[in-house]
Point group: C2
Chain length 144, copies 2
DNA sequence: CCTTGATCCTGGAGCGGCTCCAGGATCTAC
DNA sequence: GTAGATCCTGGAGCCGCTCCAGGATCAAGG
């Protein structure tokens, strides 16, 4: 009788649909809600979460920030700045700080790659049974 | 009376000394022993661990491998190959495989840096109160 | 209408690689 | 003898998810 009769499909996306749209695992959605990155969400009368476009936008924001390497804490900061209508400059500062960290990590990783590449290249003759590489591989700044 | 009288200092390094020589945290030594990367080590009669040069060499090997980004599992493999006198070629294969992974990660991280750098560079004017960056920052391959 | 299989719910555990803690025992230097 | 550093043990905490058990609900096919 009522317009929302028993066999009417509930509106909004289910958790899995939202996750698919954001390109993440359904469990991740629940996890983000648990730690407060996503707000508590309306439920059907049977307790199932239903999402709308606003939730999707927020989740996508979080996922995109994560893909850029921001930590969950940093994502929280970004969301906070956005939430209180902070300035562009604030956001830029956060991003610039993170960029520095990324560049640092990048330098480290480049050094690791160069060292590894040299080690691999330096051991072409394969049949040597007592592998000097194993000892030499990690010859480093040891004090003896 | 006996040569090893009560006030003779026990020989060998204590855990903290070993860790210092290897450039790691004392707790890390205990952790590695727990997971079997370092063998159980002789103890004094009061239960304190005492280490010798062989332990130091092994710990340094593990730490060096870790610094090169090998996982603990990979370190285990390297140690196993070394332990049974495997060939250079085996070691080279492990290192080459890891090198590939490092290069992959390096490419990812480079992409992240480029994207971040572009975002930061694209928002020089700081006073804009409604930060388009926050929305644009993470404009990505969204399907709408 | 009924079944089947997908999805949802909850709280909690597990992953890697450490690091730290509590609560006590022991060692070393003064 | 005493203070302070270091050691011992088992277990918890960190990050960022991901998976699990055990049950309820939902959507689609027959």
């Amino acid at each position: 009788m009522s317009p929302s009769s028993s066999r009417t499909r509930e509106p909004g996306w289910r958790r899995g649909e939202l996750a698919a749209r954001a390109g993440c695992h359904p469990e991740t959605v629940r996890f983000y809600e648990r730690i407060g990155l996503l707000p508590p969400v309306p439920r059907t009368d049977r307790g199932h979460r239903r999402y709308g476009p606003a939730h999707l936008a927020r989740l996508r924001f979080v996922r995109a920030a994560r893909r850029l390497g921001f930590s969950l804490e940093e994502v929280r900061e970004l969301l906070a700045v956005g939430g209180r209508g902070g300035t562009c400059e604030e956001v830029r500062a956060l991003a610039a700080r993170h960029l520095l960290a990324v560049e640092h990590r990048l330098a480290e990783l480049t050094a690791v790659r160069d060292r590894l590449a040299a080690l691999v290249a330096g051991c072409r003759r394969g049949e040597d049974p007592d592998c000097a590489l194993l000892e030499r591989l990690f010859a480093g700044p040891w004090d003896g």
